[in-house]
Amino acid sequence: MNFEEFLNIIYLLKLLYEVEPKVFRKTVDLGDMCFEQDDGYYYDSLYEMALEISDSLFAYAWSEYYDRRGMSITVFSDPLIEEYYRLAGEYGKAKGIAEADNLYFTQAEEEMRRNFNFSYSMDWLLKGYAEPKRPYQSRFALFIYEDGYVDICGVTVGLVRTYQFFRENVQEMREMLSRKEETAA
């Protein structure tokens, strides 16, 4: 293991500890984790931990592997994501802004690019609906192709950061819209 790999693991754990300590306590067992330079590390247990974190962050996580296409698709959704787009829609209506010009819609796309555009073997898709017609309709999907290497730590960091983004912005939009209502009253 080199220092970069080691630091990536530390960053993932610390970020999760800050963003969602409940998931950290549920999924991370620090007791067995010892690392040393130039020593093999327990890739399997790290991989399992990263998968468990990924499954535990968002309320909805569905995964399918397509053998013929050599790819896996994982779909994530959460009440936070639904709330984000619902509030973004309210903001757009209040300002008379179309979705295409709504900065909250574009900011979410930008956040996805920042978090998941690190491998040629991975794609993503984000769908947000201000007025969804069914539960978990606002969602994002990750497409991972087996022809290349995608760092599971990197994906999990991206998921934690994405979760943090939606949570912080939902809070911000709620406060902003509530201030507008108070002003209007």
Binding site: F3, E4, F6, L7, I10, Y11, L13, K14, L15, Y17, E18, L30, G31, M33, C34, F35, E36, Q37, D38
Partner: protein, 97 residues
């Protein structure tokens, strides 16, 4: 092995001076408890870390410094070690060494 002391002094003089990073407590904790033991080949137990003592930003800062500064310092030290290994011995006329 006979060592060329003049060359040793010269190469040591070229070694980068250690400058304590001017960073916050969290960064210094990560530096002392993660970077230094890792570079010294010591085992690091994550269970012994205090996750309240540093932030994720401190880890990112450490990563930036590693790539930007420490890496080049380590590379320079490696080339000094390599040069020392290739140091020519003193002539046989100096038997006391």
């Amino acid at each position: 092995m006979k060592i060329n002391l003049d060359r040793l002094r010269k190469e040591l003089g070229n070694a980068p001076a250690y400058v304590l990073p001017e960073k916050g407590d969290g960064y210094l904790y990560a530096y002392e408890r993660l970077y230094r033991p890792f570079m010294q080949g010591r085992e690091i137990s994550l269970g012994a870390l205090d996750f309240e003592a540093f932030s994720s930003e401190d880890v990112l800062d450490l990563s930036v410094d590693y790539h930007g500064r420490f890496f080049s310092d380590l590379a320079q030290l490696d080339s000094i070690k390599w040069a020392l290994r290739k140091t020519a011995p003193l002539p046989a006329a100096v038997p006391f060494l």
